[in-house]
Amino acid sequence: MSFINYLSREINCKLVYYGPGLCGKTANLQYIYNKTNPGARGKMISLATETERTLFFDFLPLALGEIRGFKTRFHLYTVPGQVFYDASRKLILKGVDGVVFVADSQIARMEANMESLENLRTNLAEQGYSLDSMPFVIQYNKRDMPGVAPVEELRQMLNPNNAPEFEAVAPTGVGVFDTLKAVAKLVLTELKKAGG
């Protein structure tokens, strides 16, 4: 649920990075944080376990610039990927404007990807959203690892509806900003539709 402030002329949108445990959601936000000019971002908050697994969420506020005199701000969140944190994932999805599904390209993680994507659909549906009709992009991460599935295979399994897709290596930034821009663009386009 975006928030339009006519007074301060700001528009705030919420983006959520979803995906199985260890797929690289937090790594995406960390890279964005490190590469964004400090004036355009706030603090990154990570509520994590001692072993750096996300416990509740990561949060990163970004200011992208102005459109027609309105400052556009994006709040980026990651969910905890571990299966048993489902209650927390549902909470973080509340009010979401756009979703990035980060898939782990390793063949060994294929089942975890499919399970997580199914879980995303279920949790969105509980809130009355459908993945097929909302801003959604998919990222095939960990392309640098040995034993990754070919992209065509990932596409077949995870992206039957041809959402915008990107190959990525999150810690080095490959594909990270392309992914972010694509989802931000879809969210803004959606707002435009809503107003038209």
């Binding site: 006519y6 509740f56 949060f59 107003g195």
Partner: protein, 159 residues
């Protein structure tokens, strides 16, 4: 969309800011702020320059979301009030109309009793304003983004 769009206009903003400003004074608090349930900051007053309100807003929203989740599991209605006591700073969190969250940070200069009392009063007025805003948002169906072009969106990323 499952949730209605949240909007803020000058008229209501000034009313809200007025309530927040007077709450700081009447409760003798250090900082007061209002956020929506998604963690977007709506208004702040008091000594808010020295604290990271954006971060606090998102954590408070997460906190309210988590306790809301607990309430559901216990078949309770939302827990509408939370209070955390620190050595120097205390924080009082109030869910208003299940829509926005009123946060008061205070120290020894005042008491929990007074804060509670003033928060209660302010919540009622805030509830009414946000009700008006919700109605307005539904009625408008118009966003400033209706007229943007694909180029506008692309330009945002060309820096």
């Amino acid at each position: 969309m499952a949730e209605p769009q949240m909007v803020m206009y000058a008229e209501e903003f000034h009313q809200i800011q007025g309530i927040v400003d007077s709450l700081v004074k009447s409760s003798n608090a250090s900082v007061v702020f209002i956020i929506d349930k998604n963690g977007q900051l709506i208004a702040a007053s008091g000594d808010s320059e020295h604290i990271d309100t954006t971060s606090l807003a998102s954590l408070t929203a997460g906190n309210i979301a988590a306790t809301g989740g607990m309430a559901k599991l216990l078949r309770e209605r939302e827990f509408t009030t939370q209070f955390h006591e620190g050595e120097k700073a205390n924080i009082h969190i109030q869910l208003v109309d299940n829509r926005v969250i009123l946060v008061v940070i205070f120290d020894k200069k005042t008491s929990l009793g007074l804060v509670r009392l003033r928060v209660k009063k302010s919540s009622e007025s805030l509830g009414e304003i946000f009700q008006v805003l919700a109605t307005k948002a539904q009625g408008s169906g118009q966003t400033p983004f209706a007229e943007i072009t694909d180029d506008d969106i692309d330009n945002l990323f060309n820096d």
